[in-house]
């Protein structure tokens, strides 16, 4: 069965303490892997799309990488405003559906 798993469920960091979030997937025919940021009470905000193993994307303090089985969202020197839930999703060829992980709730303390 196709599955997307995110770890850890929750992560507490001190401001400036770099870390990584993991998204592992067991799907066939990956068309793309997507990272979103979600603030409480709001819809997910798009961050990155990755299409093939070895691809990397960067935006400010965030960097997303993709292998054949997992993706990492690296957060460098995080700030309190980076606190949010980070969701990953995969889309498959020949399907119009997206499969989401349950998210990692990040809390960055000043």
């Amino acid at each position: 069965e196709d599955q997307v798993t995110q770890s850890p469920e929750a992560l507490r960091l001190q401001e400036g303490e770099s870390s990584s979030l993991n998204c592992s997937y067991t799907v066939s025919g990956l068309r793309g892997l997507f990272w979103y940021r979600q603030d409480p009470g709001k819809g997910p905000e798009f961050l990155f799309t990755l299409y093939s193993a070895g691809e990397e994307k960067e935006k400010e303090r965030l960097k997303a990488t993709l292998t054949k089985k997992e993706s990492f969202l690296h957060i460098t020197a995080p700030k309190p405003e980076d606190s949010a839930t980070y969701l990953c999703a995969v889309a498959l060829y020949n399907f119009n559906k997206f499969y989401f992980g349950s998210g990692t709730k990040l809390n960055v303390k000043p």
Binding site: R31, G32, F34, Y36, G41, K42, G43, P44, E45, F46, T49, Y51, L87, A89, A91, N96, K97, F98, Y99, F100, G101, S102, G103, K105
Partner: protein, 114 residues
């Protein structure tokens, strides 16, 4: 640029009452449209998706239904709400079939069933 709207933003309804949530997309044509539900502290559960007017695919059998009366309008309905229907409802869109484009989300509707 494209914009996606959802209303209402919040809704409190009694058990057994009907439901109608609306989603519209501006600035694009023939989008794929999606309804998700997110329970507190949980991931997104796909409820319905549509690739065109009148074309609805259901992912989860339940007392909810969806309709797409116009190209850029997607409606989520129920005849009788259950307590378990409470949650955060999100509408999303992508460009039409064949594209590797990204899925974009609306602001969501918070539904509380009492």
């Amino acid at each position: 640029s494209q914009t996606i709207h959802q209303w209402p933003a919040t809704l409190v309804q009694p058990v057994g009452s009907p439901l109608s949530l609306e989603c519209t997309v501006e600035g694009t044509s023939n989008p794929n449209l999606y309804w998700y539900r997110q329970a507190a502290g949980r991931g997104l559960q796909l409820l319905f998706y549509s690739v065109g007017i009148g074309q609805i695919s259901s992912e989860v059998p339940q007392n909810l239904s969806a309709s797409r009366p116009q190209d850029r309008q997607f409606i989520l309905s129920s005849k009788k709400l259950l307590l378990s229907d409470s949650g955060f409802y999100l509408c999303a869109w992508t460009r039409g079939a064949g594209s590797t484009d990204t899925q974009y989300f609306g602001p969501g509707t918070r539904l509380t069933v009492l």
